[in-house]
Symmetry: D2
Subunit: 378 residues, 4 copies
């Protein structure tokens, strides 16, 4: 399904690495270890068992083929994983592996843990995008250009204000993502029907750095949906920026062009062309995300204590959404950090528009607001 | 496009009333009035002009046909609206109508104002849903039932815990909506290219009870998208509840049934049937919303200072989404407030399942957590 | 939910008129009449009853409020409609009204009948679009312009070939729509659980000019989904055309501009502007349709003999989708029939691109193919 | 992005194998070879060059890393592929590699070729699904059961009629897929701006067994969208079937249960459970598809001669959609071929419903129609 081939397009940057099969297995093992520690801390199993399970989880390499076959026979890899772990611990600890847990506890928590890990490079890149937009806003605060509405020349503005708009969008999306990270990346530890007392969940949440939800959320999928929405929001902002760059980079406009390494953007048939590869890549990723968010929302219609189908549809959806968002962000960072702006051409186009060249007084003040907000957002 | 015929299904309750054509016109007039007051407060126009414009806005009935024709010739009703207002004020105030504003300022702010008005009944109904779920959780905290995962009988739980899960979902969605209301229902007052100084926007925001954004957001559509996501999240929770009710109301399960007025749920061909009309209506509305959220996200790809198409697609999308969410919430309130629960049947089904009848000790504690969180959320 | 106010945007042209509440009522009455005639033809009821029922259906005005209340109590207007009809026929015919039918039979068939009626102006406008594209292809078969890939100038082509591409897309979408009309606009007459013998269905299908399906499709929703897909396909083609026009109409490019009535496209704040109102309207409609198609596809997951929620979600979805597609098509017709092309500017831009001016020899041949295919498609 | 780990869920069966990176490379090489043969046949290059290029394409193993880096620098792997091929042929043939083609020609045609290859197992599995449904319809033509509407018991029907409904849906989706295969899996060979004379395209189409389109469709994306729609339609039918099975397999209903290999469907926490793994897997795949179809439709809005972003978003979308549809179909085949039906329990549930046990006379006739249609469809 996926592809090394298109990795540079759909899975650029460090986010995708946190979403690999190996990352899934690592996260599931980390959750089983944290569960054992939590059970010991709550006095449900001996410390010795927890230590032994933890050691096995830390060092074990679980054969992917075994887990894959587990998915084929039970639509989850967890049963096979637990069986493998039990085989590797001593008899005394055997019954203490996965104690009181259900497959969904492990998978949901593992996905949240992976997401938390993926959020580190994602938010790094998003911050770098915002910083780059801020730099553009600062540098071009007085760079007059023609504003365009409905793709028609309208009245003067500045490129700094355009970049300040990008900045405000990026900072807003970052705020929403940080909130999703803190509230929605939550532990799941509810046991077979979600009725497990919350003590173990609290321990595991602290241990793994995840939020502690009020209740198990096996069938109340607001958090994964909110996570999806925050990712979709960032992609929307990035799409706006990339769309602007493709338009400004038209030769007929020529107010911006992509920088980036030499040789990027060549064409197989037209040697003279320089294609806006970064902007195209951002758009390619971002266009794929609204449909994924819709899927995440539709999957909220979960039956009883665990959904038949809607839950299992989430895994691929979220991994895809995270990966695409990560890639779009990495490409946008590249785009923004290397964007070449041509103030001369902006001035010339503005003069051609013949609508005067006086930029509204508010532009500078607005730029300052955006920059000030960005400074406090960092 | 819409329909009185299906209003009880897709537009039940008080939310839809805030989204009518009359509500649009009222909101646009309110925005023009607030703009005039704001301009006066900023010293841009005389107080007398503001007073006159305000009076005209308050009392004018603008012919819908005129606005509709305006849409046909300019894809916005605002030009025609402004022309009508200018005709009705004295010559001195004529130039002070709509001062410094652009059509999008009026439409965006009007949509946000309408949304704010629609949020009142929406959040009322959502709170009533949560209260009803809380009451079910309290009443049935010890009502044992068989938990079901993947639609198969699993282990014992309580109906109280099921209802507590609904409650937590509802309170989470309410929190997200309240946040969207406070942060994303923002004023728009940026002028033709979004470069207007923020003084007037601040005045209008205070005046109309809307948030003041850092910058005009003509082409940075994170706020409308976030609003859409919050609505989609509530619908997802409601769909989960309604799905559960349709499943519990199957005669073979018979653990719940819809209450509601006598005669509801009859069938044209089968007199003995009692259809779960409220749950069906919730689901019918909720299933229409993920696609609308996807549209709102896709519309974030806006060109330059104002989008050609993406912005104009938002109006119908948001009105539809708000209306459907309002209707789903009103139906869910009806459903939850009138739900008939059959503890005897739950006990019998649990006994049939032959998995013991001991509910996990955690269930009660979890219910208390949910109820406690609900009390502090109100 | 909808709006007179935005009718010129979202519901332009004659399609929307076929989707009004009055059209729904008329269609339901026509179906009840056809059902009575079909029952008589099959010998299930006396001819006299059929004649009487038909007369009542033809002349009755059913109070919308009564039907709306019916929706509130049963999630369908049909029970109330049938009650009203029974009150209006003589006692002998009373039991012959709605004989053997279920609410879904009437609603599904009525929606298909309305769709069939809406397809007349829809396909008229689509054909006019194609004719206009063909005329542009013919007129500009030798009008050289610079081809643009990834929004960058590439190599020479002709505007005729661009228009020929539009034409092929339009003719393809028309073929798909005609096929959907002939295959998917099917009668529904399965009775309460879809087990009714096909004789009556065949009669009603012939009577109303609808397709006769192999089986009742109460819970097998491939036909409505296919209908939605065909509409979505046309919108995609129209969006492509409108996107091109917005790009070609940029002042910096200036190779096309919208015609249309004088005064169209003015701006509230910038008197010098001429906005591409038709293209913007096409895009605004078309951007709303992919999400609606997704909803139609998701609604195929129908339970047992009749879906709880998924079916009821279709009505609004299909009406919206038809209306938006109709409006996009009407706007596109306006756009294409009035498009102003500037061959001089195309030539100048091509010269500026400095990639030579020799158009590939294939261009003319391809245009001829498209025109030839169009002639045989008409 | 994807995953061996979840391959049994999202990528079961033989379809996914046709969509791997290796399959992409193979398809691109096959297209370059066919292009060379086509150019020779049209007299554009010497036969010897074609033979040499063909041999290189047949035997070359292109380093994936090189192609991946090509994507990073140009958003397409084709430039790097062509460079590699040119290095491997003699100097005389060097200029004859990729003659007159553009990257999109190769990628579009390769995707269509891969799709054509994937359609073989896909349609095999879909036919097996239909055959299995036909067998169920035949076997159970007289197996009475209670029909259920809105999840409520309604009136008697037969399980044979239920299965006949599945059959008609499957055969309808197969017809649509076969049509998409024959019409929409089309060659692309338009050259840099889509103006290449059609001779070479015709040759390549015949060579590779693809349809010959009237015009290059670089920016007219009706065919890929129609392909997506046909896949989405099949998934919708499969979701309906799987949803039915999950409902019929509830212990409280117990009219069907999944067969399949022993041990499938176990639970990590509840040894007594038997989960409907196949139905859950079908639903998990199918729920992910409407959002993907929406993306494919949204990507039709392509700029000028080649889209910036919308085209590049298609690759992952289509691969994902094909893979998920293939997996859903393979799982559904397993489900249908091994379904265990319990006529006794159906009879008992029908008796409990107390609505009589007389199945409508039409049921048998309808089943025969479905079976007859299936026979002629094979």
């Amino acid at each position: 399904m996926t592809s090394e081939l298109f990795a540079a397009l759909y899975a650029r940057g460090d986010v995708a690495a946190e979403l690999s099969d190996a990352a899934w297995v690592r996260a599931m093992l980390d959750v089983e270890a944290a569960l054992a520690r939590g059970c010991a801390a709550e006095g449900l199993i001996p410390e010795g068992s927890a230590t032994e399970i933890e050691a096995v989880c830390a060092t074990s390499r679980v054969d992917l083929a075994v887990l894959r076959d587990g998915v084929a026979s039970s639509a989850t890899p967890v049963i096979a994983l637990v069986r493998a772990l039990r085989e590797r611990v001593g008899e005394a600890a055997r019954g203490h592996v996965h104690l009181g847990a259900t497959s969904q506890d492990i998978l949901d928590t593992a996905l949240m843990l992976m997401s938390r890990r993926a959020f580190v490079p994602l938010l790094d890149d998003a911050r770098a995008c915002a910083d780059a937009a801020a730099a553009l806003a600062r540098t071009h605060r007085n760079t007059a250009m023609i504003g365009r509405t409905l793709l028609q020349q309208a009245l003067p503005t500045t490129f700094g204000l355009r970049a300040a708009g990008w900045l405000v969008g990026l900072d807003g999306a970052r705020r929403d993502l940080a909130r999703a990270r803190d509230e929605d990346l939550a532990v799941q530890m509810g046991g077979p029907v979600g009725a497990r007392a919350p003590g173990v969940a609290r321990r595991v949440a602290e241990d793994l750095g995840l939020a502690e939800p009020p209740l198990p959320w096996h069938a109340i999928r607001l958090s994964p949906a909110a996570l999806a929405c925050a990712l979709g929001g960032l992609c929307g902002v990035l799409a706006k920026i990339a769309r602007d760059v493709t338009l400004l980079a038209q030769q007929e406009v020529a107010e911006c062009r992509e920088g980036g390494p030499p040789g990027r953007g060549g064409s197989s048939a037209m040697a003279h062309k320089r294609n806006p590869v970064a902007a195209v890549s951002v758009l390619a990723c971002a266009k794929r995300t609204p449909g994924l968010v819709a899927t995440a929302l539709a999957c909220m219609e979960a039956e009883h204590e665990r959904a038949a189908g809607a839950w299992q549809a989430e895994w691929g959806t979220h991994v895809e959404l995270l990966s695409l968002t990560g890639s779009a962000t990495a490409w946008a960072r590249d785009l923004l950090e290397n964007l070449e702006v041509d103030p001369e051409r902006m001035r010339a186009n503005l003069a051609d528009a013949a609508v005067g060249e006086t930029v509204p007084q508010g532009a500078g003040e607005l730029i300052e607001r955006a920059l000030e907000a960005h400074r406090s957002a960092r």
